[in-house]
Amino acid sequence: MIHNFLQMLSYPFLINALIVGILVSLCASLLGVSLVLKRYSMIGNSLSHVGFAALAVAYAMNAAPLTLAIPVCVIAAFLLLRMKESSKLKGDAATALLCSGALAVGVMTISITSGMNTDVCNYMFGSILAMSESDVRLSIILSIGVLVLYVIFYNKIFAVTFDETFAKATGTSSNLYNMLIALLTAVTVVLGMRIMGTLLISSLIIFPSLSAMRICKRFFTVVICSAIFSIICFVAGIYFSFLYSTPTGASIVIADIILFFILAGFEKIKER
């Protein structure tokens, strides 16, 4: 096993994928705890669809993919929060709307420019070959930025997640920190969707935190466990996909699913 693992590390593109993937899983799992608890689980999904559209347009215009997709996703995240607050479009409807709308725009752009081909498949389900050197560098810088911001504002993020009204009444600007969470999520989603794929990236946000919530009783331990689970599943998934040439994104999600069910079973047994 160690031999296989070392062999895997001899491929530079795999090392890149591992580094970026671990950083992104870390960000996604930390943010995921807040998103799941705030009932915003689907935000990652709709952001990734917007990201897909943005990437498609970026390729069509020959622009750098990440530099276009990140700002577009950030704007979409802000819009999504706004839509959730307004009473006219209810939360889940707004999310669904953005999801399918963006997907349609993306597919349309691709079919007009390059035609439907394997590229689309890569977008949808991810590919570890998709990252260029500059993408890797940008991903590393941005995900470290996300991590640092998360740590600095950890206490505030906790307060806003637990009780928005109380936080607002005592002077912590809920809107500001909701925006921050949305911003960090948008960046994380765009960074991760190249490896995980548009359709699978939201699992990186949701699964680890749900798994951690099965067994942890403190917010802090939920966050830490979520991060650990996320990294373990990511590495396990990539390793499995290397050994048996399975799709990377799907392998990682399946590792997440297995862990979730193990922990859910564990919780059931403990409750008895």
Partner: protein, 237 residues
């Protein structure tokens, strides 16, 4: 100078006036109970006092050293909170956030203060328990401790005994009274239970299409409004 001074305050939602012409002052050490039917504008007034909603006319002045965002607030529980994976201490400590400034972490004094509030509410032993595993009454006390952490002078309690059984409610009222009498904290409490309110409060603010009554509890009991509502309620039971 009074802690809170409401002058000709009105609130409206999307152009529709919910409540108008509120005039009252809350002094230090008072225990004010806001009562009124559903939709009388109790929660709206609370939002106004907490500066979460601006009055459509008139203004609310804070005085006597009471700072904005330094009001301890006990809100009604949301569904999200009921099964939230956090320890009691994490929840209570988050009340100190308005004291934290730009520091990313809590100081030791914050932690000590939070511990003291837990002790005062007689739930020191729950400190490391998981919030979602507590009973409704215990959760409510934890949230009260958090409110104490946020504000020294004024506590605003929004229906603090909703969903609690009679024993728990009595316990909760006892603690609130202890806070008022022993710690000299000013309390503004919203309640729909007029009979309970009259027992514990020093002052009553009765809302219903405006301000029906504001003043001392004893005057309220003797007043026309008070007689009518208390009488009505007592005949019900």
């Amino acid at each position: 100078m009074s802690l809170i001074n409401c002058k000709n305050v009105s609130f409206s939602y999307e152009g529709r006036t919910v409540i108008s012409n509120l005039n009252f002052e809350v002094e230090k050490g008072q225990f004010v109970c806001i009562i009124g039917e559903n939709g009388a504008g109790k929660s709206t007034l609370i939002k106004g006092i907490l500066q979460l909603k601006n009055p459509s006319s008139g203004s609310i002045f804070l005085g006597d050293g009471l700072k904005e965002k330094q009001i301890g607030y006990l809100s009604q529980q949301t569904i999200v909170q009921r099964d939230f994976p956090a320890s009691v201490f994490e929840v209570v400590l988050s009340g100190r956030l308005n004291n934290q400034g730009f520091l990313p972490f809590y100081k030791k004094s914050d932690k000590d203060y939070a511990k003291k509030q837990l002790e005062f509410l007689e739930i020191g032993d729950l400190k490391n328990r998981c919030y979602r595993e507590l009973s409704g009454g215990q959760q409510q006390r934890v949230l009260l401790a958090r409110a104490l952490c946020a504000g020294r002078k004024l506590l605003v309690l929004d229906e603090p005994v909703t969903g609690l059984d009679p024993v728990m409610s009595a316990e909760m009222y006892r603690l609130i009274e202890k806070l008022n009498k022993k710690e000299d904290r000013t309390i503004i409490m919203v309640s729909h239970d007029i009979k309970e309110a009259v027992v514990y409060a020093t002052h009553i603010l009765h809302l219903g299409k405006g301000q029906l009554f504001y003043g001392l509890k004893d005057d309220y009991i003797k007043s026309e409004v008070g007689k009518f509502f208390l009488g009505g309620r007592m005949n019900d039971t």
